[in-house]
Symmetry: C2
């Protein structure tokens, strides 16, 4: 026969019923050992593969997680973060018997329409929401519809921040910049500047706060912190001109700066271009995200440990060991909100001795 074998064919070959074959695959413990071996042999011999769609139709479980493909951000360096997250997610999802389905969406409304279609069509059991914003309509929709999901990104300032029905995973930016700053302080540097984004971003404020805390712990007062703080949009060229303006033709030392901690690799790249151009190639600059850019340029950077983020995201959907998406708020899920501590990657751009 040319058609693919079905449970019926396997059952016939093994001399058992369809249901027993099904049990061997889905609940092996209820089948007697010798029967199981016989059925397994038939499965192997016929090369049987379960028909995923038939199973889904009956069980209403797809073992698939939907992810909206984040924007193509042509000039930004930051897109790489979501790409890497996607990589890690796919890899660890595979290890837990899940697959990732991508979809595109123009805006939030369109994305919600896609959620509905994917769920109603039994295409996905859950979705991962990325690039969350304050009062995100997608999160509201998912929560009220009780569709399983997990967000990559905290709901900054939302009244629902602690709602266990709205699980999220995020990177602890505060801890990351604090570590980066402490590292520089430990090298004997003192006037460590901050280059962040314009106000209004939860992530940006969080990362700045980490720097501020480390500086405060080293005895720097609030007024001086204000002086050490710069900001620019997340584009290398703008960061560069911001730093150039700050230097105003002076040496960094004369401008009151021993080093710079940045909110992103884009900013760090711009800052590095400015100081190197001004003739201070060893001025320490630390970035955030550990993108290929920082690696190629030998820039120290805070790595987001996206593998841990992906693993945590899956735990929030599947529980610690399961292979099935749990309903929202299920007790099998431990802490529904996870902060992943990032890791400072030190490269040669932060030399052991300060230079001017």
């Amino acid at each position: 026969m040319t058609a693919l074998p079905t449970v019926g064919d396997v059952a016939q070959a093994a001399g058992v019923s369809r249901q027993t074959v099904s049990n061997v695959l889905n609940a092996p413990q209820v089948v007697r050992d010798d029967t199981r071996d016989r059925v397994q042999a038939a499965i192997d011999r016929l090369g049987y593969r379960p028909h995923a769609s038939a199973r889904r139709l009956r069980t209403r479980v797809s073992s698939t997680i939907g992810v909206r493909l984040p924007f193509v951000d042509r000039d930004g360096v930051s897109g790489a973060v979501l790409d890497r997250f996607l990589h890690e997610l796919a890899e660890h999802a595979d290890a837990r018997g899940m697959r990732i389905m991508l979809f595109a969406a123009r805006d939030h409304d369109d994305e919600i329409a896609q959620y509905r279609r994917l769920r109603d069509g039994a295409d996905v059991d859950a979705v991962v929401v990325t690039a969350t914003s304050y009062d995100d309509p997608r999160i509201d929709w998912l929560a009220t519809e009780r569709m399983p999901f997990v967000a990559f990104g905290r709901p900054w300032g939302s009244p629902h921040a602690d709602d266990p029905g709205r699980p999220w995973v995020d990177v602890d930016g505060f801890a990351g910049t604090r570590e980066a700053t402490a590292h520089l302080l430990g090298r004997g540097l003192r006037r460590i500047g901050w280059l962040g984004w314009p106000e209004g971003s939860g992530t940006g404020e969080d990362r700045r706060a980490g720097w501020a805390e480390a500086m405060a712990a080293a005895g720097v007062d609030a007024a001086e912190l204000e002086v050490l703080s710069l900001s620019a949009e997340d584009v290398a060229s703008l960061a560069r001109s911001t730093v150039e303006r700050r230097l105003g033709g002076r040496t960094p030392d004369a401008a009151g700066l021993d080093a710079l901690v940045c909110a992103s690799d884009s900013l760090a790249l711009g800052a590095m271009m400015a100081v190197r151009e001004a003739g201070h190639p060893r001025f320490p600059v630390v970035g955030f995200d550990n993108t290929p850019v920082s690696a190629a340029l030998g820039l120290s950077s805070v790595d987001q440990c996206l593998d841990l983020v992906a693993i945590a995201a899956l735990e929030l959907l599947l529980g610690d060991t399961g292979e099935r998406v749990l309903p929202p708020g299920d007790p099998g899920i431990r802490a529904p909100h996870r902060l992943i501590p990032p890791r400072l990657v030190v490269r040669r751009s932060t030399p052991l001795t300060p230079t001017g």
Copy 2:
């Protein structure tokens, strides 16, 4: 009622049979206008969504394309190319009613096993194969099993290169480097060097040949070409030391170089660092891939036009307009091998100097 509406519910609401509802969705032209309107109204009113798995079970069509998630290449810049391709693919697939399913695989054998599972489980109709190599076992398997696929990357040197049953899309590297070289020649530069990869890569040889042809057309003889040619592994730091060795402390001019065309942005970055360190920030360097790195550094680069690549890949699977994967070798598919011409993106060539 709390359960999702089915075709049966819609049929009842519209006073027609299940099949007519099905026809409204899949073959509207066979349904009389007024009936169609009535059914459509019922669909909208009930918020009916077809159950994708049930449809797949019956039709044996999944409207899904599988893509193995390309490697996580932590330090390389090049991974960004496949990521961008994936973005474009997802976006254009969506426009043609297709979705992308990701999967992970450890090696080629594992990948083939996944192909089989995905196909037998009716999870995907076709796959896109990336990072192809000479005599790729995956391609052989797909071709002999007659499973629909398209490769991103030419089968360099394979005897099956012209087999219409083995469709591929690729970027015309030759044309890209030729254009980049011609651009520099047009600016009055003459001794344009080549920085490529060590021999043995089809893609590398192709890109080098484009440079060589443009140079030959400008009257440079073979012996001189040999002198102008450098190579390094695809890592910025190695590229940098290769160029430094070539300069040997001299100015680029004294070392016989007016500019450099590179096989990748990683190489270009290394080259740029070397010449800038040597005090020649305006020495023109052109990269390949137009990654965020080159954009951020203001490096000219050859853009692969991955949107066109993705569109072409879908055409090779679906035909010009269809929404269904065609069997391998179907006449609905025009040319089964497509070379996409890339586009030179010119940026200011000396990003690290103050403008002026």
